[in-house]
């Protein structure tokens, strides 16, 4: 399974994402610059955290017009897997690949600490190895992670099982304690917490590992069933 880690000017979690794939899965992974115009070689695209374009205007507002984002939209449309983490989540909402938006934290503070998340949907490709309702320790580091969408969209997210993670103790004011969501199809996921920073007990937690092993397992299951056919 081939992974791409997108790199925008101002990305700063790209190396963490790369290492998480390399160390956790040992699968091939490339850094892909924001000017790239072809992602067809990749099965999973990671949109990392950071401060792309300095967060100017709004977080993710400018990055979403980077050339590579048209390819991310194409990949999502083709059913490939896309995971946006932190600034990557903000970019995916600005790009319209995920509903809603991330507002300034209610406290106005940049929150940088461990958080407990509850797995609300384990039938998603990125969470299949977690137990439903499992509580996992994953760090956050953001000033704008306060999820918001209108009531109709929230009802839709709830009805379709698109809420993937909720905070056990809401750190930022997010609507319905939302920490991570998916698109309707489930192949595009965005989350504010950083699973790539929780892949080794040396880092304080390895609860993020299963996001990587889940997606690999999902891909392998599909890939193998396709080749046996």
């Amino acid at each position: 399974m081939k992974f791409a880690v997108l790199v925008f000017p101002g990305s700063n979690c790209d190396i963490d994402c790369y290492k998480a794939v390399e160390d956790t899965l040992g699968e091939p992974v490339d850094y892909v610059w924001h000017t790239a115009t072809d992602l067809s070689a990749y099965d999973c695209i990671l949109v990392p955290g950071g401060f792309s374009y300095g967060d100017y205007l709004r977080c993710g507002a400018i990055s979403r017009f980077a050339p590579v984002m048209a390819e991310v939209a194409k990949a999502a449309e083709a059913g490939k897997y896309v995971l946006g983490i932190c600034n990557g989540f903000q970019i995916l909402t600005e790009a319209g690949l995920l509903p809603g938006t991330l507002r300034r934290n209610m406290s106005l503070k940049f929150r940088c600490h461990d958080t407990l998340l509850r797995v609300e949907n384990n039938s998603n490709p990125f969470t299949s190895e977690y137990a439903l309702g499992e509580e996992i320790n994953i760090p956050i580091a953001h000033g704008e992670g306060n999820y918001y969408c209108d009531e109709a969209t929230l009802a839709q997210l709830q009805a379709n099982g698109q809420i993937i993670f909720r905070y056990v103790n809401n750190p930022n004011g997010s609507l319905d304690d939302i920490a991570g969501i998916s698109n309707e199809r489930g192949n595009v996921v965005g989350m504010m917490p950083h699973p790539e920073r929780a892949v080794s007990s040396l880092l304080g937690s390895e609860d993020g590992k299963k996001m990587f092993t889940s997606i690999l397992k999902t891909w392998r299951d599909q890939h193998e069933s396709a080749s046996v056919r």
């Binding site: 205007l57 909402t93 938006t101 209610m106 918001y148 209108d150």
Partner: protein, 84 residues
Amino acid sequence: MRDMLKVKVYVTIKQSVLDPQGVAVQGALHSMGFHEVGSVRIGKYMELQLDTDDRFEAEARVKAMCEKLLANTVVEDYRFELEG
């Protein structure tokens, strides 16, 4: 010389959406004794110079700029004024 149009764009958080910065500033004003302040909403102000004198076209173009980039219409409203 071709005329330039100046555009002032105002982007504000929708009334239905909480503005935590505005609430914090309101609290600060209250603690300074400005108790008459009922609410504060913080927004953005942008000035654009357009290299055109076609006001009709400019309106449509600036509207598109606001919808696509300058405002996030999930949580923000915008308005603009053409000058010159």
